[in-house]
Amino acid sequence: MFEARTWKGRTALQILATLLVLPYLFPLIVMVKGSLAGQGWKNFRAVLQVPGLGKFFVNSILIAVGVIVLVYSVTMLAAYGFAKLHIAFREVYFWMLLACLTLPEVVLLAPLFATALRLGLYNTYWAVILPLAALQVPFAVLLTRNFLMGLPNELFEAARVDGANSFRTFLHLVIPLTRPIAAAVFIFTLIGAWNDYLMPLVFLQTTDMQTITLVPQYFVGEFSNDQTKILASAVITAIPEVAAYLCLQRFFERGLSAGALK
């Protein structure tokens, strides 16, 4: 796109890019530098020695896995149904689902709270998994259905002619063929569940149930506002996310792009 044929031009573009990147680097430097201020590496040791730190990670993993499994399974089934099977009033159902696409989660707060209390789900993983999954499903279905609609009908008719029922078609055609789009669904569901703050804040009361997004708050209480340790805890909770991104860069970029484009 931009082109620099001369040595001068190329240097100018390089300098421009570097200057533009610096503000993005700055908060990360502040985070790392702040976490090493004062007692240096001892901050990290103090944070790591807090009992139950691992539990935050375990909880986040369990919730993310729960949301992903739930979203993936109902999405694949529904996308197949919407794209390739006969459903009376299909458009009506689809629109009912699409209407939930732009829904901010905060809208569900009061009724979910009252219902979770009544059903005894308050302070359980389900109180977070179910609403998070419910909010992710509409977009995942839209994406996967569009992908499946792009596959030729003849493929599915051939399977039917060969005697495969819809269940076998699902297992042997739909699941393997949707792998590229499933990767995208996987990534944006993972990020959505892992980074969510509001649902765990409201529905997970005890620290042994809470997720990593609540760690900074927990440490504000634990270290009575010792900034260096709070920043050290931020670094520790950020490391797995950055590592996962660095290992699976292309997946993350594609998945999140798919998650962004309607």
């Binding site: 931009f2 919407f82 905060v106 809208v107 009061a110 009252a114």
Partner: protein, 315 residues
Amino acid sequence: MQQRQPAPPVAGSVEGADSDQKQGRRRHRKPPGLPWILPALVLSVGLIYYCIGYTGYISTLNWDGISSTQPSVGDKNYVRIFHDPVFWAAIRHTVEFFFVTFVIQTFLGLLFAVLLHARLKLAMVYKVIVFVPVVLAPAIMAPVFRHMFAPDGEFNSLLRDVGLGSLAQPWIGQTSTALGVIMAITIWQWTGLTFVLYYAAMTQIDQSVLEAARMDGAGNIRTLINVIWPGVRGTTVALAILSAIGALKTFDVPYLVTIGGPNYATEFLGTYIYRMTIPLDHVGYGGALSIILLVIALVMAIILQLVGRERKGGS
């Protein structure tokens, strides 16, 4: 469709119905799909519509969320909202937030995309630095930003170091700059995504058109304005929709960095609903606010569908 022939009298009624229409027959051969979509409908539509109905009911009550007495107040909560200056402030913040973050993000994302298409050195490093914020949870970064924008924080010391010490101020502690900080954090977080989307869109632009523009003597800026910008229009529209939805959903950053303050300067619909529903126990009022947010979100969803259709029709 109108040339339907009456079924011959000999043929049985079942067969007649079956061969009714070519289309009808093909549709009949497709296995039934309703059981396949049921789990998704129950989970998503069931849970969400149940909650919306419940919220609608709550919004007519004067309820603290716990007590068993739930006196109905009719539409009083809604009437109150329209006279609530904080509600209107939240709407204004959302609109301002959308325009500022969208324009700056688009500009920066586009710039990064064209720059990294120019085969710079260290392009990979630049990309990672700009994209990492997208992956990090706002909740984890919030303490970092509180620290950074504090009166004695790194941002003010940076200003002093570069000789702009007179600009140093309590960024998140005063009403005039707090919203700007929230916008800056959001831009920091989402530019990476804008950039990746534009970067991908630019690979779709016809190289021969670019070559032709260059042959005609167009420089970088002119190529950007006249060839690249129209070429990525679809992406820009999608990003505008995404930013608008994001503005409506805004919660984590203002709640964690400024708690909606100071003096409601960074209050958004999300933080206001939360404040009303959980810490203040005005669950009925929070419900009414939720319904209004819901209506706005629904209108957005419809616009999104219409724009999407137009885009499909155009290409």
